[in-house]
């Protein structure tokens, strides 16, 4: 069962991007790139609280696709809760993130809450193509210094270098940002030598409160090192600013499941 703790942990980090608020490093971006990224980051942290239901679908050629279902509740930039409800062997598993160094998992098999340390970020995640790091990053300006490389009528394309001292898997990233809603359409993660490692696409955005809070219906990541394997996160439900009480993000509430 413990194995499931860490497989599932990535889902917590998926929705904890705002927690990765690392100390500002020396800026190396050009002005246009920095401005685009700053605006993107401000949009990504605008909601007071959000609630999502996701299907996570991993496809491998020649194999039956694997589906997991979970709910995510986010409040501000601190509190996150993730609850699995399918398949049955992970049903009831719950995670609470109060900060990147204060995380908990509820294990239904043991009926208890266990504190987990941030070293689990180094683990693989449920056999999906997501790793913890690319799932954890949603605010980008603090991790990457980006230059505006090109643009079309609908997209900005930025080329980004990891800032010195940042703890992130990939040293380079290319990001296409939609001009209409100022959100990522595609992210490409590259190695030191510029080899393409993974590609993430985000499609079917829907927005609330104008374009201030937008989320993609589908996020899909392809791991080019594992030919043909992809994982898609499909948002089935999204609620915004419901006034969720801080008590929902306590260890006691995690144990109780309510």
């Amino acid at each position: 069962m413990k194995g499931n703790i860490f497989r599932g942990f990535g889902l917590v980090l998926l929705c904890t991007s705002a927690l990765v608020w690392l100390a500002p490093a020396e800026a190396q971006a050009d002005e246009a790139g920095a401005a685009i990224m700053a605006e993107l980051d401000s949009y990504l942290t605008e909601a007071k609280d959000q609630y999502f239901v996701f299907d996570m679908i991993t496809k491998e050629p020649g194999k039956t696709e694997r589906v997991m279902k979970f709910r995510v509740t986010i409040k501000g930039t601190r509190f996150r809760r993730v609850e699995f409800f399918a398949p049955a062997d992970v049903r009831g598993m719950r995670f609470l993130v109060r900060s990147l160094t204060q995380m908990y998992v509820y294990l239904p098999a043991y009926r208890r809450v266990r504190r987990i340390a941030s070293h689990v970020r180094a683990q693989g995640f449920m056999g999906s193509t997501y790793s913890f790091d690319e799932m954890s990053i949603v605010t980008y300006g603090d991790v990457f210094a980006c230059d505006l490389a090109s643009q079309t009528d609908s997209l900005w394309t930025l080329k980004c270098q990891r800032r010195p001292g940042q703890d992130f898997n990939y040293s380079q990233m290319e990001i296409d940002i939609r001009k209409d809603i100022h959100r990522p359409a595609e992210l490409r993660f590259l190695s030191d030598k510029g080899a393409l490692l993974k590609t993430e696409t985000r499609t079917d955005y829907s927005c609330q409160e104008g374009k201030h809070v937008c989320n993609p219906k589908t996020m899909k990541i392809v791991d080019h090192a594992r030919a043909g394997v992809s994982t898609a996160l499909v948002c089935k439900e999204w609620k915004l600013n419901q006034g969720i009480n801080d008590r929902y993000f306590t260890v006691r509430a995690l144990q109780r499941g309510k």
């Binding site: 413990k2 194995g3 860490f6 497989r7 491998e60 039956t64 694997r66 398949p87 049955a88 062997d89 049903r91 009831g92 900060s99 160094t101 204060q102 043991y110 009926r111 208890r112 266990r114 504190r115 987990i116 340390a117 941030s118 070293h119 689990v120 970020r121 180094a122 683990q123 693989g124 995640f125 449920m126 056999g127 790793s131 001292g165 703890d167 801080d246 008590r247 993000f249 306590t250 260890v251 006691r252 509430a253 109780r256 499941g257 309510k258």
Partner: protein
């Protein structure tokens, strides 16, 4: 008093009822699993001589099928939870009477185990106060599996593979959430429930040489007396064992409080428990002599016979205790070593136990050994007398405080490996002062290895003018000079190492879990040259070696199906913690689970 408590709870629950808003509706979550367990014992385990032999044969020892049903019903602030296992044991008793052969329950036995059956009210009377009433598990303690501050539920060690499992019990629990960081909890247990012991636990009864007295001089004497009665063809054996549960009174209700929260991102908890230890301790022995009509001889050896037995009936009880608990868990930053290193997980759990003294009374009916009659009555311990002139009885558990703790560290290496390392001081069945800090031992084996008859020593300085005193003095002297004991601390120390390796896209898990007994084992004997008894340390890697190795392979096929297989390998001599036959011996096991 008890009625008043329950009445208050019921009134409170009714008072907590407020009409639900139209938006609230009943939510039902139903789930469960089907599970099949098959365990094989890899080698025979045996203890006791032919007249009181206890044997665990190799082969199938568990052949169980489970149906687990979990139901969670929510209606606004109210909730009901049920979690029940229906278990078919798959094995009928080896010997069935003819009538039983026509009974389904005898041929195909089953039992029911309830892990949860409770009601809960959130924001009970005031905001932040939650109340839960019913059959439940209250699992406190931040360490993994080894939790010295987790005292409310009794241990369930019936299946040795389920480390740390607990038995649900009826409880009234209140939690008051203070802000977002702290919770104050209180739990009342109306009726104490004892630990469920392993099926192999019966073998411990045959180990009559594990004399539980703390007083060494008395132990040596009893070792010698048992040797004498054996030589006189009346060896000692345990007959009946009865555990006395505490009376169901208010003063016998266990209760506990806990304050848990966060200080500087580290989780801490302080707790207090007052109740009883859930493993029983002996409080009285009653010995009687059974004379056989004809000698009973060792199978295949008509020259090795006994004329009867000294049968002992043992009464067990559950000692009172208080436990002051402290828990702490969090992570230790390692980025000062290397920027890429994540925090190291740690957890510390300490329980300071304040036990009530447990003494043992020994009574006997008239016994005649080698023509020497011993009158009926209480055994003459020769431990002095108290202020009222009553004899001081031997100590089973002293009232000295002691501590148990678990210190654990965990870390992930690469994307596939995780390591969990723990120092465990005192397992759940260990109770009473005695460790590397404050000396105190339990006897793991005892014997009086004499070349000749024990009566030669006994009668060497026997004073026929005062036979009663002389017999005690002679047995004490001969015991002191000839008894050999194997001792280990009352509270053991264990190095626990767990390694997880995930592979096949996380569908497979290979786990290696081991427990290495580092307590230290000693042989004590009389050194004729020194003229005193001495204690010799037995090497952890030699005669003192004791270890569990637990490899396990789990494969998750997806859609709820999980298959696993493994082994529980127990190493050590019979007197060691894990080589003890009562521990059940090494197992190979398979498990299939389907979750729905």
């Amino acid at each position: 008093m008890m009625k008043s408590i329950f009445l208050a709870v019921i009134i409170g629950m009714v008072a907590a009822w407020v009409p639900s808003t139209a938006a609230e509706e009943l939510e039902l979550t139903l789930g469960g699993r089907v599970q099949s367990d098959l365990h094989f014992r890899l080698q025979e385990k045996m203890v006791g001589d032919y007249y009181a032999e206890q044997r665990l044969t190799e082969g199938v020892v568990r052949n169980e099928n489970y149906l687990k049903i979990s139901l969670d019903a929510n209606f606004g602030r109210f909730r009901a939870v049920a979690d029940v296992d229906l278990v078919w044991t798959g094995m009928a008793d080896s010997v069935l009477e003819l009538g039983a052969l026509s009974q389904r329950a005898a041929i195909d036995p089953y039992y029911l185990q309830t892990h949860a059956l409770y009601l809960e009210v959130v924001d009970f009377l005031i905001e932040g106060l939650d109340l839960r009433v019913g059959q439940q598990l209250v699992l406190w303690g931040k360490a993994d599996q080894f939790n010295p501050t987790n005292n409310l539920n009794a241990a369930d060690v019936e299946d040795v593979l389920l480390f740390g499992e607990q038995i649900a019990n009826f409880m009234i629990r209140a939690d008051w959430v203070l802000g977002t960081d702290w919770t104050l909890s209180g739990v009342l247990v109306p009726v104490f429930k004892p630990a469920q012991l392993p099926r192999s636990g019966a073998l411990a009864l045959a180990a009559v040489d594990r004399i539980p007295f703390a007083e060494e001089s008395l132990r040596y004497r009893v070792h010698f007396e048992n040797t004498m009665t054996g030589a006189a063809l009346y060896p000692t054996a345990v007959d009946q064992v009865r555990a006395h549960l505490p009376a169901r009174t208010v003063e016998n209700m266990p209760f506990s409080f806990r304050l848990a929260g966060t200080i500087l991102t580290q989780d801490v908890a302080f707790s207090y428990y007052r109740g009883r230890h859930d493993f029983p301790q002996p409080i009285s022995n009653h010995a009687r002599q059974e004379v056989f009509a004809e000698p009973l001889c060792r199978p295949g050896d008509p020259a090795d016979c006994i004329d009867g037995l000294l049968l002992t009936d043992v009464t067990l009880a559950y000692p009172r205790m208080q436990v002051l608990g402290f828990n702490m868990a969090g992570e230790i930053p390692l980025d000062w070593l290397a920027k890429s290193m994540h925090g190291l997980g740690y957890r510390l759990e300490v329980g300071v136990y304040l036990p009530e003294r447990v003494e043992l009374s020994v009574h006997q009916e008239e016994i005649i050994i080698a023509g020497l009659p011993q009158p009926a009555g209480e055994y003459d311990y020769r431990l002095g007398s108290d202020a009222q002139g009553n004899p001081i009885r031997p100590t089973i558990i002293s009232d000295s405080p002691f501590a148990k703790w678990t210190l654990g560290l965990d870390y992930t290496l690469g994307t596939h490996w995780m390591i969990n390392l723990m120092w465990v001081h005192g397992l759940s069945d260990e109770f009473g002062a005695g460790d590397f800090l404050n000396e105190g031992f339990v006897v793991r084996s005892g014997q009086v290895p004499l070349e000749g008859s024990p009566f030669d020593c006994f009668f060497a300085d026997f004073d026929m003018s005062d036979p009663a005193n002389s017999a005690i003095n002679a047995a004490s002297s001969c015991g002191r000079q000839n008894a050999v004991e194997i001792l280990r601390p009352s509270l053991g120390d264990y190095l626990v190492l767990g390694i997880d390796f995930h592979f096949a896209d996380d569908k497979a898990l290979l786990r290696l879990f081991s427990i290495f007994d580092i307590s230290g084992t000693y042989r004590t004997y009389f050194d004729a040259e020194a003229g005193t008894r001495v204690r010799k340390y037995l090497s952890l890697f030699g005669d003192g070696f004791s270890m569990i190795v637990y490899p396990e392979l789990v494969y998750n096929f997806g859609n709820g199906l999980e298959l696993s297989a493994g082994a529980l390998l127990q190493f050590g001599k019979n007197y060691s913690k894990f080589g003890d036959p009562a521990a059940g011996g090494s197992l190979f096991w398979t498990r299939a689970r389907f979750y729905f």
